[in-house]
Symmetry: C2
Subunit: 339 residues, 2 copies
């Protein structure tokens, strides 16, 4: 490993002068600096991170903790976070917890041990009390995204789930449907619960009754969307839905498969709309009606919020930011198509 001292010896200056050159300190002669920087480049010297952060008590590093790295939603948020902080001279450490609370706590602890300057966390579940019990965490700026936890006020960047849900439902209602299925994730999760609430509000406003037999709450997986869709269409006693709204991409994908297998045409036999806006949308025909992409905006908002907390000296009261998104009309709802 190349050290400051190696550069100092090679150039004949002291360690401190080399340090000054690297950090663009004004108190240094221009030629001295150029001489030193030449050697620095040649040797590929980069200051030892551990030594620097030990000395400065500042790591210029933030942590990003997500349930699952293979989830494109969190991946794209991460890209936005990384881009923002990279431009400010920070690095981003990503940890994934495989949907385990234990791993989540372990990740937080390991980030704290690294003295990172702040954390952006996409928490799992709905119980938030455990967060308040992690020692030393209150000294570290923390922003939560996408999922609200129980407990005291915290810094959040959330989606406008209710509003988004209302926009989707109103659009489907506008096509004249009155029997609308709604397939979403676990209702303990705030995101899922809020989506259902928005749906219910839209029905109320349209003076339609909310029919619980048209709602399915399952986990967020493809096969669950597949089975819930079949279940919804096969049920006896109630009339068939003429439209279905899906709570995320996975559920939609499962739904498309089920509808295709049943020989139902979209939107002819059944209209469809869905939350989120995955890249994989390009593989689907008909192109589904969805919402705008929000990943970049969530990442940006969370990163800005975190940086402002890191940079502010005094403690700030918790803030919440809601990211809304507009409809993106496709061909699955009955409109004549987009693009």
């Amino acid at each position: 490993m190349t050290r400051l001292e190696d550069i100092a010896r090679e150039t004949g200056f002291s360690i401190k002068t080399v340090s000054r050159a690297i950090h663009n300190h004004p108190d240094i002669k221009r030629e001295t600096k150029e001489l030193i920087m030449e050697v620095v480049r040649k040797r590929g010297f980069t200051p030892n991170w551990a030594a620097q952060s030990l000395r400065n008590q500042k790591t210029n590093t933030i942590g990003y903790i997500i349930p699952n790295i293979t989830n494109g939603f969190f991946g794209e948020i991460g890209i936005a976070i990384d881009a923002f902080f990279r431009a400010k001279g920070y690095s981003t450490l990503i940890c994934f917890t495989s949907d385990s609370r234990e791993n989540e706590i372990e990740s937080i602890r390991s980030l704290l041990a690294k003295n990172i300057d702040g954390i952006i966390l996409a928490p799992i579940g709905n119980q938030g009390e455990y967060i308040d019990q992690i020692p030393n965490l209150d000294d570290t700026p923390l922003v939560l995204i996408d999922n609200r936890l129980s407990g005291p006020a915290r810094n959040y960047v959330l989606q406008d789930n209710e509003g988004n849900s209302r926009r989707l439902a109103e659009h489907i209602l506008g096509h004249g449907h009155t029997q609308i299925g709604f397939i979403t994730g676990p209702l303990e999760e705030s995101s899922s619960r809020e989506r259902l609430n928005g749906f219910r509000d839209a029905l109320e406003e349209a003076r339609l009754s909310f029919d619980e037999s048209l709602v399915r709450s399952v986990d967020w997986e493809i096969h669950s969307g597949y089975e819930a869709t079949k279940d919804l269409l096969d049920q006896k006693g109630s009339s068939r839905p003429t439209a279905i709204i899906y709570g995320n991409t996975q559920l939609l994908l499962g739904g498309y498969k089920a509808l295709r297998e049943k020989g139902l045409s979209i939107p002819g036999d059944i209209a469809v709309a869905s939350f989120e806006h995955p890249d994989i949308i390009d593989a689907l025909s008909p192109c589904p009606t969805t919402l705008e992409k929000v990943e970049a905006r969530i990442g940006q908002a969370a990163a800005e919020m975190l940086l402002s907390i890191i940079e502010s000296k005094e403690k700030m009261p918790p803030r919440e930011v809601y990211i809304p998104s507009q409809l993106v009309i496709g061909e699955s709802c009955g409109c004549s198509g987009r693009r």
Copy 2:
């Protein structure tokens, strides 16, 4: 931040004794240790990572550099790597390069500055010389995955692309097809080139001529698979393929959309098979014939290789590991189905 010294003061022992307790050193009385550990737990103390690694010249951390975090393939490899190293007491830092060579070099340098113990890199492109020019990198164990670069021998974990391609092609040939389309990625990339080679070998062995007009080399994106498929089916002069093999999931997805839009039934009108084995397979009907999942095995193999290099004292000659995979018969090739 809680320090060793805080625990020492609170328990009345010296710093060193506390350190011994934490590290399970034998030279410590059982009760002393229990007394200390109680306070350690209460305070949530974790040794300062920077101080530890500065002192030990060992960080127990490895770096994992990938082109794109939203690619599920690299994500799942990362999960396997992280699981392996976590069990050995190591952390994994993930960096993504957004397919930019500049970011890739920058990521390597930032990992070197952190004194990480080793790097697993999924390199982009096919030129490898730049790697040899990164200062100080030769002291750090490095394992490359999935893509072979030009230049000297290196540590690699690769897929058996030729063998896999041959297996896919032989299966399709076994269904009696003689006009087989092949849609794959850029031929500069070793993975893509080797896949095409395997396909050509299988044709030769079956005494069929290799018809270049049935091959498309595009980028690895969904829309490219869509357009290449339409292009292949629309071309004049040559007879239509009765089967198509896709080089990855994205291309397959685009292909399914194109075939559906053309009203062709799979496998009735056209047989289909594809490399990789994505989770999204559950959303497709008919279920495509693919290869086994290899992500976990690639990650495991790369992690094992890297750890063995980290732990070995003397320099070892570069090694290569090839991960083969078997066919997974679906419904898209003409077989009667699986499961």
